[in-house]
Each structure stands twice: as structure tokens, then as C-alpha cells.
């Protein structure tokens, strides 16, 4: 491919590519190229689709785009047919022939493949009318549905790299920084630091050998968060474009994308995108004829949550263990290899081209208060519509969970929503009208974090949740400072005792005291925010802790030491299925007669409860 030498050539390429889009053509979007779509067999579905199109000789009438993540994970694999905007969900290989014949050729809709709204059980044909999509504002994720992530030309076609061209032609570095400052873009990695200010301080830092680093934090360590992975797998160039613009504004010379080791596919997609960007002249020397040079390398993580912290991340790139250091001197002055370094999250970088193209007036109209623009959340857990949602800042939690998320499955009752990963906290029902906003979430005892939003219902034990997060953090603590290393272990030990029925009077007070100490005195924010899950669950669900300690009972029915499995004799049909599966031979009963569980032998594995078709196994 010929290198694009200047912005004019880019514009003409873009125009040329747009013209090839015939208006009477059908455009078929099938989500293929993201990790979890592939787990749902989307590769096979796509292959079958290609074969059918070939078979029915529709190649000229149909344009097939294999996209990345379309966001509504619950419905994968998804096929969207444009221009009608018909959405088919959970498509199987066997459905393809019918889809091609009925919908592509005849224009008919197949009802069984349409999304059903759980609130009114109605089938919805159009993607745009599905509440999940309707209430979102997908300024970033929306592009996933327009491009094949392995094609840089798809990205150029929809206006990709035009923000870079604008910046290199019309704007001085200081102007770009002003623009980002005015947009009020804040770090989407979790801390919410004003991006413009960070860029400014890095620009002003002295680089003794003229090298400055531009780094993308793609470590995404928060369990339950995968929006960065989705962005990198589905629209990698949006992140690259943001980084190149940032490099130009700051004076960066070398870039790194630090991506966690577990994201194999994202690494592959990124490598391909970097290669293409270099071929087309967006990276390397004399970018678009501006005289500006910038290159990006990939650095893979080793599997450590703490490497999401900026100084630990940089230590990891240097080949050292990921131990954070105190930030009396910021990394914008002395970071990677002691040189000025600017680190931003994947989603933050992806926002940059949009702000440059659309302008701050447009951007600041989205959002509220001091939190502008949109935020991508991974809505997971006990929720009907699992997926990635992008909403304007300031959207109310209730709307996200119930309007977009479709509420709690099996008609269970909502209990709490956990935001901010292991650094965040749980928000109870009474605060569901809180808007998602950096300040408001922090006030409530949680935080925005990277955007993980885990919904919990009445069958979740909040003490167990606190114990879970501490268990996670105690393994991920780098061990350098005493409060984090020792404090988390001790808090975890107390919680384990409580969950095992060994809690005693005074445990809650110790947890609170320890929590405050760890928070105040840890060296980095891993320890500094580690007590949050405990403190927030204590704030809103103190009664659960007390039930565990005083009454030795687990209201959520989770803590094995405090629950018993019982078979309801009214519902049991004596089908004998549980008897066969019980690993401890703890179930006794004759066929066709109600069975009984021996609680002494029972290890609470839950197998019987899962396979009972009559819902006769109850947890007490």
C-alpha cells in the first residue's frame, strides 16, 4: 500500500473509499473479531455466512463486514442488516441458510431471531429500538459496528485519522492541549485526573536527551472490566490516532502500549494495526508530511494487577518487578527510564480524536457537572442484558441497570451494584438514583474506576463479596509497604473467620480501624483503596455482617459454613437425579419418594441444586 504523504491525500482516499459504498447494497454486520464473540462460535457462523452468500451468488449485492464487539454480549453472535437496521440475536450456524434466503433475498423478517424485551415480551426488530442500545450514547463504541478491525481502510472510510490530519495542519501543540483541557476530558482508567493538565505538565517537563514517552495503559486489571479489550480488538486505530495526536501535542517521541498478557487476540489485532498504520504513514517518520516522527511498541504484561499502577507499569516495561514508587516526582517529569512520560488509559486515548473532530462545544454538552463526555461500563453479574454500555456521564444508575440492563434475571431482587473494581465499593438500592459521575460515586463510598459495574441480587452475600476482593488484592499486593502487605492479609483473615462462623464481637470495629490505617498509609493506591469494598459494605450492609457474627447465619445463602442444603419434601418428585450426582453420597431416598440430604456429609457443592428440575433443593 502506498504511503499517504499529506492530509490532502488522506482526504482523497477517504472520499474514494466512501464512494464505493453503493446505496442499494445490503450491508451485513456480523460480530466476529472479539474474544467473547468467538467463544460463542461466531467464527463458524461467519464462515457459514460467507459460504451461503457465495452459494446464492449474492457477492455483488451484499457487503459483509466482520466487526468486533457490538456490545450486547448476551445476544452474541449478532447479525445486523442495514440499511433496515434489523438485528438478529444468538445466531447459530443452522440459522444461516434461512437468514440468507428469507431476509437477504426476500426481505422478510425471521421473528424467532429477534430480541425479546423482557418487560413486555415483545419482539423488537430494529437495533435502534432495542432499549439496550436506545438509551446509550455510543460515540466511541458505535464505530465498532462500522468497521472490520483488521482493515485500516474501513477506519479511514468513516473519517479515521482525519483528526490527526486536522491537528498536523491547523493546530499548534499548545492549542491541542488547550482544547483537551477545555473539553474536561478526565482519565478513564479510574482516577479521573484531568487529561489536559497531565499533557501540559509532560509537555513542560525537560527531556535531557529529547526523548519523551507516550504510554497507553491497557493492563485492565479490574476483574469484571473488559471495555479496553473490546476497544483494542474492535477499533484499535482509534486508540492509535489518539496516541499520535497526544504525542504531537506533548512532544512525545516513542510510544508504548502496555497490554496485559491474557489479551492474546487484542495483541494480535494491535500488532496488525500498528503494521498497517506504519505502512500508510501514520506512524514512523515524517507523519503526513509534517516532519513529526513517532513510533509505538507493544509491551506485554506478566500477569500482575499492580502493573496497572503507573509507576509499576513503567517498571514492568523496564523489565523489573512491578513495584510502585512514591510519586513525589511525577512520572510526567521522570517516568519510564527516568524520562518524561505521559500515561493514559485506552478509553481516554479513544476519546481524543472525537474531541478534536467534533470540538469541545459539542463534547461538553454531553455529561454533567465536572464529568464530561461518555463512559463505557461493563455491565455484568446478575443482570439480564450483560454487555458493554456507553452512557453520558451523569446518567442515573437505576436507568443503566433497569432500562439498559433489563433488570435482574429470574425476577430476583436487586441488592447492590459494585463499581470501581477492587478499589471501589457497593452501592445499595436506596442510592440507585445516583448519577454516574466521578465525584458523586466517590462521595457514596465507591468510585468510577475503570468502569466495571457488577450487579448483585438477593442471593449475593456482601460479606463474601468483601472477602473476595481482599482475597484478590492480597495476592496482587506487590509486598513493598507494610500497611498494604500486612493489613490486607489481616483484614482477609478476619473476614474469612466471619464467613466460617468464627466471627466475634469487636471484629467489625477492628476491620474499620484497620481499614482506615491501610487507606491512609499505603504507598500506592492499590493499598490506598483496598479497604473500600470492606468499608462500603460495612456502611450499607452492616446488618449482614452482624448476622454472620451474632446469629451465625448468611442471609445471602452463600457462606458454606453457615448454610445448609435441604430438599423441600413438597416439591421433590423422587426422580433420583440428585442422588446419582452427589459426590459425597449425602442424599438418601427411594425413587418416587421425597429425598433427604444428610447435612453432616453435605459439602455444599451445589450440584444437587443445579440439576434439580423441580427447584426442590433449598438453601437455608
Amino acid at each position: 500500500m502506498k504511503k499517504i504523504k499529506n492530509p490532502k491525500e488522506l482526504k482523497s482516499l477517504q472520499q474514494r473509499l466512501s464512494k464505493t459504498q453503493k446505496s442499494n447494497k445490503l450491508t451485513i454486520l456480523v460480530s466476529t473479531k472479539a474474544t467473547c464473540c468467538q467463544l460463542q462460535n461466531s467464527t463458524a457462523v461467519t464462515e457459514k455466512l460467507k459460504k451461503e452468500i457465495e452459494k446464492k451468488k449474492l457477492k455483488n449485492k451484499v457487503e459483509l463486514i466482520t466487526t468486533g464487539c457490538l456490545g450486547f454480549c448476551e445476544l452474541e453472535p449478532i447479525i445486523i442488516i442495514k440499511p433496515q437496521d434489523i438485528l438478529y440475536k444468538n445466531v447459530q450456524v443452522a440459522d444461516i441458510p434461512e437468514i440468507v434466503t428469507k431476509t437477504f433475498i426476500k426481505g422478510e423478517v425471521i421473528d424467532e431471531l429477534l430480541y425479546v424485551d423482557p418487560s413486555n415480551k415483545k419482539r423488537i426488530k430494529l437495533e435502534t429500538k432495542i432499549p439496550f442500545y436506545q438509551y446509550q450514547n455510543r460515540i466511541i463504541l458505535g464505530n465498532n459496528a462500522k468497521i472490520d478491525p483488521e482493515s485500516i481502510e474501513d477506519y479511514i472510510k468513516i473519517g479515521g485519522y482525519s483528526a490527526l490530519a486536522k491537528v498536523l495542519t491547523n493546530m499548534k501543540p499548545e492549542q491541542i492541549i488547550e482544547e483537551i483541557k477545555e473539553s474536561n476530558l478526565r482519565g478513564r482508567g479510574g482516577a479521573g485526573f484531568p487529561t489536559g493538565r497531565k499533557w501540559e505538565s509532560c509537555r513542560n517537563a525537560t527531556a535531557p536527551d529529547d526523548i519523551k514517552y507516550i504510554i497507553c495503559n491497557a493492563d485492565e486489571g479490574d476483574p469484571g472490566a473488559y471495555m479496553d479489550r473490546s476497544l483494542l480488538e474492535s477499533n484499535p486505530h482509534s486508540v492509535l490516532e489518539g496516541m499520535i495526536i497526544g504525542a504531537y501535542a506533548i512532544g512525545g517521541t516513542n510510544g508504548y502500549i502496555y497490554i496485559r498478557d491474557e489479551y492474546e487476540l487484542a495483541v494480535k489485532t494491535l500488532k496488525n494495526a500498528l503494521k498497517q498504520a506504519k505502512e500508510y504513514g501514520f506512524l514512523g517518520e515524517n507523519i503526513l508530511g509534517s516532519g513529526f516522527n513517532f513510533s509505538i511498541k507493544i509491551s506485554r504484561g506478566g500477569g500482575a494487577f499492580v502493573c496497572g499502577e503507573s509507576t509499576a507499569l513503567m517498571a514492568s516495561i523496564e523489565g523489573l518487578p512491578g513495584e510502585p514508587r512514591a510519586k513525589h516526582i511525577h512520572t510526567t517529569e521522570k517516568g519510564l527510564w527516568n524520562r518524561p512520560s505521559n500515561l493514559n488509559n485506552v478509553e481516554t486515548w479513544a476519546n481524543v480524536p472525537i474531541i478534536i473532530n467534533q470540538g469541545t462545544d459539542w463534547y461538553t454538552k454531553i455529561g454533567s457537572g465536572n464529568s464530561k463526555g461518555t463512559k463505557i461500563f461493563s455491565l455484568v453479574g446478575k443482570i439480564n442484558n450483560t454487555g458493554l454500555v456507553e452512557v453520558p456521564m451523569g446518567t442515573v444508575l437505576r436507568d443503566i441497570i433497569f432500562k439498559i440492563g433489563g433488570g435482574i434475571p429470574h425476577n430476583k431482587k436487586f441488592k447492590a451494584v459494585q463499581t470501581g473494581g477492587p478499589s471501589g465499593g457497593c452501592i445499595p438500592e436506596q442510592l440507585l438514583d445516583l448519577p454516574v459521575d466521578y465525584e458523586k460515586l466517590t462521595e457514596a463510598g465507591s468510585m468510577m474506576g475503570s468502569g466495571g459495574m457488577i450487579v448483585m441480587d438477593e442471593d449475593t452475600c456482601m460479606v463474601d463479596v468483601a472477602k473476595y476482593f481482599l482475597n484478590f488484592l492480597k495476592d496482587e499486593s506487590c509486598g513493598k509497604c507494610v500497611p498494604c502487605r500486612e493489613g490486607i492479609i489481616q483484614m482477609h483473615a478476619i473476614l474469612t473467620d466471619i464467613c466460617n462462623g468464627l466471627g466475634k464481637e469487636g471484629d467489625i470495629e477492628i476491620l474499620e480501624e484497620l481499614g482506615e490505617i491501610v487507606k491512609e498509609t499505603s504507598l500506592c493506591q492499590l493499598g490506598g483503596s483496598a479497604p473500600n469494598p470492606v468499608l462500603s459494605t460495612l456502611k450499607y450492609f452492616r446488618n449482614e455482617y452482624e448476622a454472620h457474627i451474632k446469629d451465625k447465619c448468611c442471609p445471602g445463602g452463600v457462606c458454606k459454613a453457615l448454610i445448609t442444603y435441604e430438599i423441600d419434601p413438597e416439591l421433590c418428585t423422587g426422580c433420583h437425579a440428585c442422588f446419582k450426582q452427589c459426590p459425597q453420597d449425602a442424599i438418601a431416598g427411594e425413587k418416587k419418594k421425597p429425598h433427604i440430604i444428610d447435612t453432616e456429609k453435605c459439602i455444599r457443592c451445589g450440584v444437587c441444586s443445579e440439576i434439580c428440575k423441580f427447584d426442590a433443593v433449598k438453601i437455608k
Binding site: 474474544t35 467473547c36 467463544l39 460463542q40 454480549c73 448476551e74 452474541e76 485492565e220 486489571g221 479490574d222 476483574p223 469484571g224 472490566a225 473488559y226 479489550r229 498478557d261 491474557e262 489479551y263 511498541k297 509491551s299 506485554r300 504484561g301 506478566g302 500477569g303 500482575a304 494487577f305 516495561i317 523496564e318 523489565g319 523489573l320 518487578p321 512491578g322 527510564w337 461493563s378 455484568v380 453479574g381 446478575k382 450483560t386 454487555g387 459494585q418 473494581g421 466495571g452 457488577i454 450487579v455 448483585m456 449475593t460 463479596v465 473476595y468 476482593f469 484478590f472 496482587e476 506487590c478 450426582q581 459426590p583 459439602i603 457443592c605 451445589g606 450440584v607 443445579e610 440439576i611
Partner: protein
């Protein structure tokens, strides 16, 4: 040399120390008739002035040519009586002590018969010995009154200071570029928890400044010849390539050294020849791939981990050698990050996602069931090397939770009842 035949034996009572256990009178009775004995007497305190006078008198009177004093340990009074002999113009080496106190009367305090018999035996042996004694003359010989100490640790430094303070010249030779040794590298001493640096540094500076001490650091002993008082030592002074008189120890040269700025680290022996060719070639290939990276250690380790399913010890040592990274740092990194395994892993790797969404959907129960069925804990491998169980902190496939990955196959919506089936399935 003529054998002595006019020997005098003088048995001391040492107050009651000897006399209470040894029957001194019968000893003298026995000894005075022994061949070669010219005179024998017992007295209450032989070492006293009157006692010594008796000996002087009897030497003259009986023209004694040998003197035996049977009394306490020679460490106490051998010198006393040898000086007396010299005084009386009897060669001091013809004076011997027979220890009948520490070796006889004291151990056998309550066995008079035994003590007496033993005392006689001891004295008789001493008589036979003294008969062979030559007239030795001490000779003055020239001595080099200097010391050379090999090793500049705490022992060597202290010895050097002690000798130097005594007024003698000392050479302190140390192999490493600095004295101090291992003690200097510790953080506390046992059991007092003292600070080794606070103890050592005053001594070290004194060793450097002392007029009598010549400090030869970064030097090794090549050859030692000679004998006590006249040693000849060959010392190799290794090339420092630095003007010691003006060096301030700022360390700038070390920071910028292109070859290696490793100091004070003993060189490990090369493992290049211990690797089999296939592994060495593979490792070389991996190192080559990242040769233009400024921080290649982690990607190199990842590729090795992927290739061999774990990090073999020899591979780590080879990497340390080739990349010139201290072995302890390689291990620090290898043990810090979760994706590396130092132990060989099983043929099938079962990973279970411990993300929050999966947890809320019941991943704990799935983990418990897998542990129960395979009888291993996370991080362990089954005895038949078939399965390794690992936990992963979020695979990012939350919509499908709980998620288990068997080798490269992602299995969603896991539950404890599905575990046995999944494990049985062979691929």
C-alpha cells in the same frame, strides 16, 4: 652425649594440694633408689624462696647434672625452675617438671594408694625422659617482624588493627575491590541486632589510615613460600585502570560503563555448555528477537514460558548470563509475575476465571468442585502430570461467566455439575 646420672628429684607438697592425696614420704623412699638419682627430697612449698634455696644448695652439694621438680603444671613454674637452673649454671633444658598435681593428686583426691602409685610412675617417666635431654642453647635468628593477612573481612581487619597497634607492619590482602566482607553486607548482627556498618566502617577507615597497615585490595595471593619469621609471598595486584590517589568514588564511570557495570558480584560459572543444543538455539533465537528492546527480560521470559510450559532453571541461568542481568533479578521478576511458572506444568492447563462477575455467578463452587475432583489446589499439578490448575484474575468474558479455560478452549456458563464432564473430555 652422655646420659645424665646425677639427677635430683624434688617433690613438692604444694601445701596440702599434693600431700593430702600423695604419700610424699613413700614416693621419696621409692625414688631415691632409682637408677640415676643422686638426691631426692620433699618440701612443703618448692616454689617458695626457702624451697628454691634448698634446690640451689643441693645442686651444689651433690653436683647434680639434672633437675626434676615434681609439683604443679609446668605452665605455672617451669620457667621458675629453669631460671634457677640457669642461675646455678645448669643448662635450663636439663630441668623438667613432673606434674603430680593436676594430673595426679587432684583427680585422685580420694584414692591415696592410686595417687601415690601414679605419682611414682609420672616421676619415673620424667626421669627416663630427662636422661635423654641435650644441653640446648637458644640461638638468636633474624626475624622479619611483619605480618601478612589474607582476607579483608571483619576477622582480617581486626587482626590487622591489633598487630598494627602493637607496632608491627601489616599487609592486608583482599581479593575484592573493597575490604568489609560479608559482615558489611548484613543488616543486623545476631543476637544483639547491632548495625554491622556502624561497627565495620570505623574499623575500615582505620585500616586504611593506619600508618602500619598497607592495604592491598583487588589483589590475590599467587604464591607463598618460606617459613615462620621468613615468609615470601607473591601478590597479584589486579588492574584497576584507575588512579587511586585522585578517585573520589563518585560512581559516574560505573553508571556509563559500556561493558558491564557489575561490581562486587562474584562471577557464576557459565551454563552455556550445560544446555542441550536444541534449547540453546531456541533461547538464542528468543534473545535475538528482542535484541533491540531496552527492557527485554519480561518478553523473553514469556516466550520461554510459552515454549517449555514453564521456566527451566538452566534457561534462567543462561538468560542471566547472556543478558547480563544478575540472576537474583531474573528470579525476582520470574517469581513476581503470575504468568510464569517455575515448575513444569501439566499437559492440560485448566484456568478458572476469578473475576467479580464470575464470582457473583458462582465460580467459587466450580473451583471447589474442580479441586475436589482433581485433588489439587490452584498452582499445583496432578501427580500424573496431566492437569495443572490455575486461577486467572478476569479473562474479560464476563457475559459467559463463570468461565473455565481448558488449554485454549473457553468454556462458559460453568457449573459444578459440568466439571466432571469437562475434565473427562479428551482433546
Amino acid at each position: 652425649m652422655k646420659e645424665l646420672n646425677r639427677i635430683g628429684v624434688f617433690l613438692c607438697w604444694c601445701g596440702a594440694n599434693i600431700a593430702r592425696s600423695v604419700d610424699v614420704k613413700s614416693v621419696i623412699e621409692e625414688i631415691k633408689n632409682y637408677p640415676g638419682i643422686a638426691y631426692a627430697e620433699d618440701y612443703i612449698y618448692m616454689c617458695s624462696d626457702p624451697g628454691q634455696d634448698i634446690i640451689r644448695e643441693k645442686i651444689k652439694e651433690h653436683n647434680l647434672d639434672g633437675l626434676i621438680v615434681a609439683n604443679c603444671s609446668p605452665t605455672l613454674h617451669e620457667k621458675t625452675f629453669r631460671n634457677l637452673a640457669k642461675d646455678m649454671e645448669l643448662n635450663p633444658f636439663r630441668c623438667e617438671i613432673a606434674n603430680v598435681r593436676e594430673q595426679c593428686s587432684w583427680p585422685h583426691e580420694h584414692e591415696k594408694e592410686v595417687a601415690t602409685k601414679k605419682a611414682i610412675k609420672i616421676i619415673k617417666s620424667t626421669i627416663e625422659k630427662i636422661k635423654q635431654n641435650a644441653e640446648l642453647q637458644p640461638l638468636p635468628i633474624p626475624l622479619t617482624k611483619k605480618a601478612l593477612i589474607i582476607g579483608g573481612g571483619v576477622t582480617g581487619i581486626q587482626a590487622a588493627l591489633d598487630i598494627a597497634d602493637g607496632g608491627y607492619e601489616v599487609y592486608l590482602v583482599e581479593r575484592l575491590p573493597s575490604i568489609g566482607g560479608h559482615m558489611l553486607q548484613l543488616s543486623e548482627t545476631f543476637p544483639t541486632l547491632d548495625c554491622p556498618q556502624c561497627i565495620m566502617t570505623p574499623k575500615m577507615t582505620e585500616a586504611n589510615q593506619h600508618d602500619n597497615i598497607h592495604l592491598l585490595t583487588y589483589s590475590e595471593i599467587e604464591e607463598v613460600s618460606g617459613y615462620l619469621g621468613n615468609f615470601k609471598v607473591k601478590v597479584r595486584r589486579k588492574a584497576r585502570s584507575i588512579k587511586e590517589e585522585i578517585c573520589t568514588g563518585c560512581g559516574e564511570c560505573s553508571n556509563n560503563c559500556l561493558v558491564s557495570n557489575v561490581i562486587q558480584i562474584p562471577e557464576l560459572e557459565s551454563v552455556k555448555d550445560k544446555l542441550d543444543t536444541a534449547m540453546r538455539d531456541k533461547l538464542d533465537q528468543i534473545i535475538e528477537e528482542y535484541s533491540d528492546e531496552a527492557g527485554p527480560l519480561i518478553p523473553v521470559l514469556q516466550d520461554i514460558n510459552r515454549q517449555y510450559n514453564y521456566l527451566p532453571e538452566l534457561a534462567l541461568k543462561y538468560i542471566s548470563e547472556r543478558l547480563k542481568i544478575p540472576l537474583n533479578q531474573v528470579y525476582h521478576v520470574a517469581t513476581f509475575y503470575k504468568s510464569f511458572s517455575l515448575k513444569p506444568r501439566g499437559r492440560h492447563i485448566i484456568k478458572i476465571c476469578m473475576g467479580t462477575a464470575c464470582h457473583v455467578r458462582g465460580s467459587e463452587k466450580v473451583l471447589d468442585e474442580i479441586q475436589r475432583v482433581l485433588n489439587i489446589k490452584p498452582g499445583e499439578t496432578t501427580r500424573d502430570q496431566k492437569y495443572t490448575l490455575e486461577t486467572v484474575n478476569c479473562l474479560g468474558a464476563c457475559a459467559l461467566g463463570p468461565v473455565v479455560v481448558k488449554d485454549d478452549e473457553y468454556i462458559g456458563q460453568m457449573s459444578s455439575s459440568k466439571v466432571k464432564k469437562i475434565l473427562k473430555k479428551e482433546n
